[in-house]
Symmetry: C3
Subunit: 154 residues, 3 copies
Amino acid sequence: MNPRILSSGIAADVQFGDEVTVVQPVNLYGCRIGHHSFIGPFTEIQRDSSIGDYCRIQSHTFICELVEIGDHCFVGHGVMFVNDLFSEGHPAHSKKELWKPTRVGHHVSIGSNATILPVAICDHCVIGAGAVVTKDITEPGVYAGNPARLIRPL
Amino acid sequence: MNPRILSSGIAADVQFGDEVTVVQPVNLYGCRIGHHSFIGPFTEIQRDSSIGDYCRIQSHTFICELVEIGDHCFVGHGVMFVNDLFSEGHPAHSKKELWKPTRVGHHVSIGSNATILPVAICDHCVIGAGAVVTKDITEPGVYAGNPARLIRPL
Amino acid sequence: MNPRILSSGIAADVQFGDEVTVVQPVNLYGCRIGHHSFIGPFTEIQRDSSIGDYCRIQSHTFICELVEIGDHCFVGHGVMFVNDLFSEGHPAHSKKELWKPTRVGHHVSIGSNATILPVAICDHCVIGAGAVVTKDITEPGVYAGNPARLIRPL
């Protein structure tokens, strides 16, 4: 049996600001990328997500639906965002009302291999490499570990 | 000196069930993909591994040799399976008798950026995003952390 | 607005030793790859980094600038190296004097999904899958966890 083969790429419905750079291969669809931002290779950015101005989304990163990232943010390599907490013991599948949004403020820097559950992260935060962010972050600071905890204020 | 260049893709020896969808680019070879399953982009699935029916293998995930996944499973983004514990202090290389299998049951959901060492995971489990599963899981429940521990039964 | 589209690939300035194998797609530029080494798909290796002889760099791995890896090393899948500790509360951007190097010795094996901050790792070490290495490692052994700690000497 032959599978149905789809191809990654840049869908026609992606909204790009001015002076954006994208390094192929990527899988971008239905999202908004702000002015002067950079999208590295081997990334996927899903629909109904939004990246601000002057951001860098580095290689191997996955940004799911319902993620909103502010301006001047740096998202390292291999960072995974999550919108489904499997709250009923399994994926929400088509029950999108169970999906939860993530809002990342401005001037937030997220280290490589971090995992970001559906949370709000305030402006001027640093998330350490390999951290797993499971709760809202409301105070500027450096956060690291699994689960992520405040290491020092900024 | 010029390197030898190989190309990723879908090898002729992959066995697909009915109604499978694959999003390129992928690197699939010698594996079995069950009916109605979905394989996201930037994935690699190695030989002698098997994915059940109605599964989703999301982007950026790596499934190694000797992994068997049941039906109705969800494997999130950036999930890495492992078959070599470096038990002699280094990779087993060609001593494949040192490699260990992983068996994932049915209705198992694995969160993004999780790492799955060679273990058995029973039916109806949720593995949290960013978890590192180092031991067999024999009781349905939600497991998270590094190393993964039971958070609550299901 | 149309973005500027760049393409991943193997830049002309990569220095390859004899008998190297590369599986496309990759993004390699300005780096040195030693004799008999293997580079898996969906990898990025940046400029001013160096891989020794008889190494395997597995799929989905990112090796940043200023990383030097010795001979006979195994770097698993989805491993992320880091050179910028955001020491001023944000990325160093063009202030490269803030970037820090990583030196990995010979016969080092790094498990999948590990995160390696800018450190020195001595010869004959095993880094567990999913580990986050935050400090220099000066004693041969097996290290795991977040942050990585000595599990047993080798």
